[in-house]
């Protein structure tokens, strides 16, 4: 207990006495944390864009005019049983006609043509949204085979190319972003590690003296770990404050380009997670780097 208090005290005092070295280390650590935070927030934006894009993709099943409501309900139930299906939306013949009318309210020719018809020419349809492109092909084949008596058309065939393309783009963005993110993250971690290694390198003679006096390894390592934790916490707070400002600044431009993405709102809603993320990452990086860097000076 006495030793623990002593270790913490020594770490804090040493942090204060080496304020220049401590500040430099904290600054580099903040930079690394900023990279991590940047990746995180960027991925939030990209995720928003990708989800938005993917939600625009769906296929529709059109039913013959004589298909009964029961049969249509059966189709709907069967489709919803696919685990890949996210959402289905039914449009009856009357609803289809109404929305068609509304859409072409200004076009007198169409309005007149419609009123001259005795019967509603439009078909009821079921819009289906699935998690990925491959599911659509399976759903389309299933419907065309199993319910050929009620299904008049599945618009998958004509849309399949564009659906495939959209999904390949969004998947590329996801995996490319992930690889880039991991690479940047690793580089940032290496920079932080190297900075801390240099800071400890400058203390190697002190470490040798402590060993000579008979200090145990933990008694030597302890204060460095405490200093590392302090570095991590301060860097986390600096990074958090920095990104608070950035989120506020880029809020409007981002919202203009990507409607529905409000970074600042996201930042405010998730402030505890974000602060926790940078604090845990900062402290962990710093402590781990200190512990690894000091190891070579603790061997006999």
């Amino acid at each position: 207990m006495v030793t623990l208090v002593r270790i913490i005290h020594t770490g804090v005092v040493s942090f204060g006495r080496n304020i220049w070295l401590s500040s430099a280390t904290t600054a580099v650590l903040s930079l690394s944390l900023s990279v991590a935070m940047g990746i995180l927030l960027f991925s939030v934006v990209v995720q928003g864009v990708v989800t938005e894009l993917e939600s625009k993709v769906d296929i529709s099943v059109y039913f013959r005019a004589d298909a009964s409501d029961e049969k249509i309900a059966e189709v709907r139930d069967d489709v919803e049983r696919f685990p890949e299906v996210v959402e289905t939306r039914y449009t009856s013949r009357d609803e289809a006609l109404n929305s068609f009318r509304e859409r072409h309210a200004d076009n007198e020719v169409i309005q007149q043509a419609l009123s001259e018809l005795d019967e509603n020419p439009l078909e009821a349809s079921l819009a289906i949204r699935a998690v990925d492109a491959s599911a659509y092909a399976a759903i389309a084949s299933f419907l065309e085979g199993r319910f050929s008596d009620v299904v008049s058309k599945v618009n998958y065939r004509e849309n399949s190319t564009i659906i495939g393309r959209i999904f390949s783009v969004t998947n590329a963005i996801r995996s490319g972003g992930l690889i880039l993110g991991i690479a940047l993250f690793l580089v940032a971690g290496l920079i932080a590690f190297n900075t801390i290694r240099l800071a400890i390198f400058s203390s190697r003679e002190e470490i040798a003296v402590m060993r000579l006096v008979g200090a145990s390894n933990w008694f030597i390592r302890g204060p460095f770990v405490v200093e590392g934790a302090l570095n991590g916490i301060i860097a986390a707070v600096v990074t958090f404050a920095l990104f608070f400002g950035i989120a506020l600044l880029v809020r409007e431009p981002v919202a203009r380009f990507l409607p529905g993405v409000d970074l600042f709102l996201y930042y405010r809603a998730h402030w505890a997670e974000l602060l926790g993320f940078s604090a845990i990452l900062g402290v962990a990086t710093s402590i781990a780097s200190s512990a690894v860097a000091i190891r070579r000076y603790l061997r006999t």
Binding site: V2, T3, R6, S14, R17, N18, S203, E205, E206, A208, V209, M210, R211, L212, V213, G214, A215, S216, N217, F219, R299, T300
Partner: protein
Amino acid sequence: MIIFDRITKRYGADIVALADVSFKIERGEFLSLVGKSGAGKSTLLKLLIGEEHPTEGKVLFRETDVAALKPHELPSHRRRIGAVFQDFRLLTARTVAENVAFAMEVVGKRGREIREVVPQALKLVGLAGHAQRFPRELSGGEKQRVAIARALVHDPDCIIADEPTGNLDPVTSWEIVRLLARINELAGTAVVLATHDKDIVNALRKRVVVLESGRLLRDDSEGRYAL
């Protein structure tokens, strides 16, 4: 208390630092270890604190074979020995008082005892007013006094001093050696002084062990430095 038993230390195949050296050091003894540079004085002291291992033979410290100590047992072994070096080896980022206190913290002494004993130790070495200074603000002689205070403050069985006067002028050197002799007399701490300073050894009139090219040349109970 300390037994060097037929010690041979070789570096590689050709370099022989010590060859078949044997002698004993008793409790409370003051011993000067003399010889030219490269005679093997420092190697002998390194073997004693477990920084190096002998190629042949044994170093026994209070019946413990130093070379057989495991890495985690070395710290507690070193706490029984106070060490003073030519280059002082102080903690440059800590004050004089903290440097001395460090040796007590290492052995787990309580804060109250540390606050009580450190000023006494500083007074003993003549640095009473320097507690809050940093090593860079001290002269060579003062630095060595801090090192001595640190070496004795946790009441070790033995103090080893490896050329403690090597960086000091003759007057300061003599003061440092007198300080070591005083500690030896007052506290009964054994002192091993490795030096090549002829005048100091001759003035001390204590036991002298002479090394030459790694061999034990002479061991006189009240010796003089003569090769």
